[in-house]
């Protein structure tokens, strides 16, 4: 399941729903991204997440479908927030549940790696020196590369 929303999410409730009643789940791997109060050596007051409505949902759905094709998942979830967020706020949740832990871990890492390079979100950080668009990180592109050749249509 995928969701793009301004509201915060209840991490415990989301994870409980994800595996509830499914006795085939042996492992649940989860990643939560949070807003830090520092970016490099600069203090951050808040950030605004812009996205491309329509394409965002399309890409997230495709990333999730790709994960389900690659690993035997019992359940998966991507929630990404948009709008204004402050330090300590939750930005993103990705979760993958499988019979075995390695599949859950790998799928979870894949989901966030692909999301970070393919889903059309942009961060605008507010610091003492004004607002600044965050630059994409080479390490994110490198992280995505480990999942080998993307298929047509999901390529950046």
């Amino acid at each position: 399941m995928i969701r793009v929303q301004e509201e915060d999410f209840d991490l415990g409730a989301e994870l409980a729903k994800l595996t509830a009643g499914n006795m085939k789940v042996g492992g649940l791997a989860v990643f939560v991204g949070l807003v830090r109060d520092m970016a490099g050596d600069q203090a951050i007051g808040a950030m605004t997440l812009e996205h491309y409505p329509g394409m965002t949902e399309k890409m997230l759905a495709r990333i999730e479908a790709e994960a389900k094709e690659r690993w035997p998942l019992e359940a998966s979830l991507i929630i990404h927030r948009v709008g204004r967020l402050e330090p300590g706020d939750q930005i993103v949740l990705v979760a993958a549940a499988s019979a075995h832990r390695q599949a859950a871990f790998d799928a979870c890492q894949f989901l966030i790696d692909w999301l970070k390079t393919k889903a059309p979100f942009w961060k605008l950080e507010e610091s003492g020196e004004g607002a600044q668009w965050v630059d994409a990180r080479d390490s994110d592109t490198a992280a995505t590369k480990r999942w080998a050749t993307p298929k047509k249509g999901t390529a950046e």
């Binding site: 991204g33 997440l49 970070k116 390079t117 393919k118 889903a119 059309p120 942009w122 249509g153 999901t154």
Partner: protein
Amino acid sequence: MKLLYFAWLKTKTGVAEEDLTPPPEVTTVAELLTWLRGRGPGHAEALADLTALKVAVNQEYAHPDDPVRPGDEIALFPPVTGG
């Protein structure tokens, strides 16, 4: 043709969205970008560095030689930074 600009491309062009009718000889993403750079200094600056630019045609990532057609939704944006 609907053009969408996101993040700093929106700031530099000064527009989030515009409806344009390029001349008929504009048939690819690359040709469209060249034509858009001629629309004014904001567009020229925003589209100066093609390596820092991503293009989506009808919400799918596109390459410079992919076709563009009347009625398409073309989005221009920097590399993504979500997550």
